[in-house]
């Protein structure tokens, strides 16, 4: 579904992303991990066609992102870092807007389905600015899901959530995961352990690990933190 081949993003002398290659297929939930500044958001933005790679190729469903941005964006649901939203719009107004630009046909029905899917029923009559952080996060998720995309790219969907909200968002993601590919960037290792089948770790823009979650846990103990610390403190010239 997604294929990155030797993708680099260079800012001046700095390699924000350095010759990164991986693939993600349908039905996979992939934890995309790395320390701050490792290049996770840059990679996600390149998949979305928001930033152009300096080198390499990115394909979604076999189509080059660079030359098929509009088509590809119809297939992707994207939750950017920081969950930017229009706070002065009502929840349904915002979802109607998102539905209409992504070409959803049965708008009214789809909005209600998505509101139900992310558990926003009690708050859907409010302006987005009036919602708590957890509900804002659900609005962001609803916006990414409104057109029932094949691929979901979620950049830190858990940031700022309390433990109860984490459990809620986790269960919503599980519900929708069956027929989609999901790339999930987060610093919360317990969420990766609870949700993901596979883990990709990058450090200083380079791929340092691309393994099944079970394999990592088997090798580095029951907590993913140890595996994360192991790979992100490695010399980045050698990926495993």
């Amino acid at each position: 579904m997604i294929q990155l081949d030797q993708v680099s993003k260079i800012y001046g002398a700095q390699h924000a992303v350095d010759a990164l290659s991986f693939q993600v297929g349908k039905g996979e939930i992939v934890g995309f991990l790395g320390p701050n500044g490792a290049g996770k958001s840059t990679t996600m933005r390149m998949i979305m066609g928001f930033i152009r790679p300096s080198k390499g190729s990115i394909k979604v469903n076999g189509l080059e992102v660079e030359s098929n941005r509009q088509t590809i964006r119809q297939k992707i649901g994207y939750l950017p870092e920081g969950n930017p939203l229009y706070y002065d719009l009502y929840v349904r107004e915002f979802l109607r807007f998102a539905a209409s630009i992504t070409g959803v046909s049965n708008t009214r029905q789809r909005i209600e389905e998505t509101i139900h899917l992310v558990g926003l029923q009690q708050e859907a009559h409010k302006k987005i600015g009036q919602l708590s952080k957890g509900y804002k996060q659900r609005v962001g998720l609803a916006h990414a899901l409104i057109h029932d995309p094949d691929l979901l790219i979620l950049d830190e969907p858990h940031s700022g959530l309390d433990p109860n909200q984490l459990v809620e968002i986790r269960s919503r993601l599980r519900e929708i995961a069956d027929h989609k590919a999901i790339i999930l960037s987060t610093h919360l290792m317990q969420e990766v352990q609870a949700l993901c089948d596979r883990v990709i770790i990058i450090n200083q823009g380079k791929l340092v690990a691309d393994k099944k979650l079970s394999e990592l846990l088997e090798r580095h103990g029951p907590n993913l933190e140890k595996a994360f610390a192991h790979y992100t403190s490695l010399n980045t010239n050698t990926s495993e």
């Binding site: 979305m48 928001f50 509009q70 719009l89 209409s100 070409g103």
Partner: protein
């Protein structure tokens, strides 16, 4: 594009600044039309809306700058521009959706004054004297063209900046310079003779006044259209290069 248009419209009227800027326009023009003795039509013997058409362009700059200041500056500061440019939309659709929303706000503001001022002034007539509707129609058309030009400039300045306040000030300054600046410069005695005419003709005001007297000249319309297309094209080019374009 229609989705962006609707969103912009909803957002403008979802904030107090939207209603306040239109109310301020009606209030300020109302003061000149009815209250200030040196301009009030109640103090005049000629039936016309001249005080309104003289002052409306100045106050229109405020409404338009308030409507356009947030269009890109706010999206950029709040991060929502990333939402917009990662949607299946072209930069043309994004810019034009926002532009048409801005000029609809201008049209709505002008329509509000038309439905209140024209019947009120007509009601003042004695001996069945009728308003001369030709120049009034021409002046409203001129105001609309000015509003469209101000909107294109305002939208462009909003792309350049992250701060809405600075975007408002820059838009108001450029538009005020475009409207009044050339006329003021042309009045310098050094330009008397030939250059005063040329310099004055470069500003918005000369073309607005030409249309306002009821003469719809293609050259005047083309002048406004050229400015509008230039600023919108620059805006489209910048959005197409986003986020590589560095904001001020």
């Amino acid at each position: 594009m229609i989705a962006i248009y609707k969103k912009e419209f909803l957002q403008f009227f979802g904030q107090i600044v939207g209603y306040a800027s239109i109310a301020l326009f009606v209030l300020l023009t109302g003061l000149y039309v009815w209250v200030f003795p040196s301009h009030s039509i109640l103090e005049r013997t000629i039936l016309s809306l001249d005080p309104f058409f003289t002052w409306a362009p100045i106050f229109l700059i405020l409404v338009v700058s308030a409507a356009t200041m947030r269009q890109f500056a706010e999206e950029s500061a709040e991060g929502t521009l990333e939402l917009l440019v990662t949607k299946p939309l072209s930069s043309i659709q994004i810019v034009l959706g926002k532009y048409f929303a801005a000029i609809s706000i201008v049209a709505l503001t002008l329509a509000l004054t038309a439905i209140t001022y024209i019947p009120s002034v007509q009601a003042l007539a004695v001996d069945n004297v009728s308003l001369d509707y030709g120049p009034i129609l021409g002046a409203y058309l001129g105001l609309m063209l000015l509003g469209m030009t101000f909107s294109a400039v305002g939208l462009f300045t909003s792309i350049l900046l992250r701060s809405q306040v600075v975007a408002f000030l820059l838009s108001a300054t450029i538009n005020a310079m475009g409207y009044l600046g050339f006329e003021l410069i042309s009045e310098k005695r050094q330009f008397a003779g030939y250059w005063d005419f040329v310099i004055n003709g470069m500003g918005f005001k000369a073309h607005y006044e030409s249309i306002s007297i009821g003469l719809l000249d293609f050259a005047d319309v083309a002048y406004f259209m050229a400015i509008i297309v230039t600023f919108l094209s620059l805006a489209i080019l910048i959005i197409a290069r986003w986020p590589n374009f560095k904001k001020l």
